[in-house]
């Protein structure tokens, strides 16, 4: 059980964590999500006492981390897998950690076996891949058989097999009744792992709910279309008037000249970009239509004489819902222009 109350952390003029409060309950995998720079790592550092908060408290089992009798027996935390002395062997690295908490030496071999690093136990960690370092870091968190586990971006650098392994490990640890708190900037990593989500952006809490609630909230949907005439349909979609604003535009057109309609459409685009239907070309050649129902897309195609090969309703992915939720709080963003361009599809690419 982790309790965070009113946590604030400022680095110079930048507020990294802004009045953050949440609980992390045992028996679940709790995903800690946010874009890069949202304050996930800072929050974890504050919980562990590596950084001191400007305000607020964080308690584990009702105590400050530094006040725990045997910290490693209660909390296993991995903030940075590369935060090791590269000249030290994996075995000695884990041994020096175990000794601080009076943990038995045999434990080191046990956790090395568990993460699959037994063969390289005597090798210096300098030569380890990021994936091996992550495994070593995870081994360190398990030394004390802790009831609370915290992992900061644990799947970074892991291969697909490693990602599956850590997912299963986290689920198994939670199933044993442990508190598992794991951060990520990618929703797709959490989709199959986390039961509960805590989403932050720019240091503030954006969502604290179960995965089911999050899915229910993100009810936005798109329509996938396949057609031999994608350009024609895309044009038709971009010129289509969405259901919601049709009435308003119609009024404007009736009231004035033909240019008034164009002006209103322009205002609509600027004022409520999401209401304006768009069609984007996917890498596989299909079109994804936002802002229109499947029926509307079908009618539109019929009106414009466009042949359809597929018309499918696609529920918004959690990734999209997450990106929408955090859109305003993304710290570092590439220029808008290129991102809007359909990705050129070339044979053999990607």
């Amino acid at each position: 059980m982790i309790e965070v109350r009113g946590l604030v952390k400022q680095y110079g003029a930048k507020i990294a964590v802004n009045d953050l409060s949440f609980d992390v309950e045992p028996g679940h995998v709790t995903g800690f999500l946010g874009p890069n720079g949202a304050g996930k790592t800072t929050t974890m550092r504050l919980i562990l006492g590596l950084d001191y908060p400007d305000a607020g408290t964080s308690l584990i089992h009702g105590k400050r981390y530094a006040g725990l009798a045997y910290p490693m027996r209660e909390v296993g935390a991995l903030i940075d897998a590369k935060a090791v002395h590269g000249g030290r062997s994996a075995y000695n690295h884990l041994l020096c950690l175990a000794q601080t908490n009076n943990l038995p030496k045999r434990r080191v071999g046990e956790v090395l076996e568990l993460v699959g690093l037994t063969e390289v136990a005597r090798k210096r960690t300098r030569g380890f891949s990021l994936g091996m370092s992550q495994r070593l870091g995870i081994a360190g968190t398990l030394l004390g058989d802790p009831a609370v586990l915290m992992f900061d971006e644990p799947v970074n650098g892991l291969d697909p097999e490693g990602i599956l392994w850590i997912r299963n490990l986290m689920k198994a640890l939670a199933a044993e009744g442990r508190t598992v708190f794991v951060s990520s900037h990618l929703m797709s990593e959490m989709e199959n792992t986390a039961d509960h989500l805590i989403v932050i952006g720019r240091g503030s809490l954006l969502a604290d709910c179960t995965m089911e609630e999050f899915i229910a909230r993100s009810s936005g949907q798109t329509v996938r279309v396949r057609t031999p005439q994608p350009d024609l349909l895309a044009k038709a979609v971009s010129e289509a008037i969405p259901e919601a604003t049709r009435a308003g535009v119609a009024t404007a057109t009736t009231a004035g000249a033909t240019t008034a309609g164009a002006t209103t459409a322009g205002v609509t685009t600027a004022g409520a970009a999401t209401a304006r239907p768009t069609a984007t070309t996917e890498a596989d050649g299909s079109l994804t239509v936002h802002g229109l129902t499947a029926a509307q897309v079908g009618d539109l195609a019929f009106d414009h004489g466009v042949r359809l090969h597929e018309l499918t309703v696609v529920r918004a992915s959690l990734e999209a819902a997450f990106m929408e939720l955090t859109a305003d709080s993304v710290e570092y963003r590439a220029g808008e222009g290129p991102a809007e361009q359909p990705a050129p599809v070339s044979e053999g690419a990607i």
């Binding site: 006492g49 000249g87 030290r88 000695n92 000794q99 601080t100 046990e110 398990l142 004390g144």
Partner: protein, 280 residues
């Protein structure tokens, strides 16, 4: 099925623990850290080789040219100081690197975050680190001092101007050289805790121990004599002299050592406070 089969526990049970994690475990941990990286062995080997080697070169060279030396030079020759000169002039350079790295390497590798996660009581970590460093440094500098001394006297035997430990001030000079060099290391450890940067720490400490004394020499003589006794490195110069009167402008050997010890203690406390207060 899934409801009836008990999953295999991921981890075997640990023996129950009583009390709390404290100094003992962290001391063992810090010893594991220091003995499990090659740089420790290289640094300490260099310390031994430089100390014993330079001492041997000075004493051996003196023995070879003894017959040509003027009587006044022979009279002022200090066989003890000559034998341990390698340790307290060059050994201190090596120990400064070793002392600085004890803490700064944890910052450069990021290991400090892992260390402080395992043992969040920072005073314990700091004290354990300083203690293990001091013990290792003492053992190595004492070994270097006595090997340098006995080898030096062996090489000087042809001159019949050799020192024994029972002569006045000789044991003090040998032991004092080792203690002085250890203190240089602790001084660097403390500066490392304050600066948290390897190169910066080594530069700063070498500046204080080597460059400041040179600059002090540029002062008018009377000023220099007033300033010199407050310089940290004066301890080494005062402790190692066994022949002739002690340098008049300095405090007595052990008081001079105390000056340096106080500086080091103050820096160790400042380093500890910063280690405690700052974000890791």
């Amino acid at each position: 099925m899934a409801t009836t089969t008990q999953a295999q526990p991921i981890l075997s049970a640990l023996p129950p623990a009583s009390g709390r994690a404290g100094f003992g475990g962290t001391l063992a941990s810090e010893f594991t850290k220091i003995r499990s990286v090659r740089s420790t062995y290289w640094t300490l080997l260099v310390l031994l080789v430089v100390s014993v080697g330079i001492g041997a070169a000075i004493t051996g060279g003196t023995a070879a040219s003894w017959s040509h030396m003027a009587p006044s030079d022979r009279a002022s020759f200090d066989p003890t100081q000559a034998s341990v000169a390698g340790l307290f002039y060059l050994g201190q350079l090596v120990i400064v690197v070793f002392g600085a790295m004890t803490l700064t390497a944890e910052y450069s590798t990021g290991m400090i975050r892992t260390s402080l996660t395992a043992m969040p009581r920072r005073t314990v970590v700091y004290a354990a680190k300083a203690t293990i460093f001091a013990i290792v440094a003492l053992v190595v500098t004492f070994v270097a001092a006595f090997i340098s001394f006995f080898l030096g006297q062996l090489l000087l035997s042809s001159t019949h101007d050799t020192a024994t430990l029972s002569q006045p001030n000789v044991l003090r000079a040998v032991v004092g050289s080792a203690l002085y060099v250890t203190l240089c290391g602790l001084f660097a450890f403390a500066v490392g805790a304050i600066l948290r940067h390897t190169a910066g720490t080594i530069t700063a400490v070498i500046g204080v121990l080597f460059v400041v004394p040179i600059l002090a020499h540029l002062l008018p003589q009377s000023w220099y004599q007033d300033v010199d006794r407050w310089l940290p490195d004066a301890a080494g110069r005062a402790l190692s002299v066994t022949v002739g009167p002690p340098p008049g402008h300095l405090f007595s050997a052990w008081n001079q050592f105390a000056v340096f010890a106080v500086y080091t203690a103050v820096l160790l406390v400042v380093g500890a406070v910063l280690f405690l207060k700052r974000d890791a």
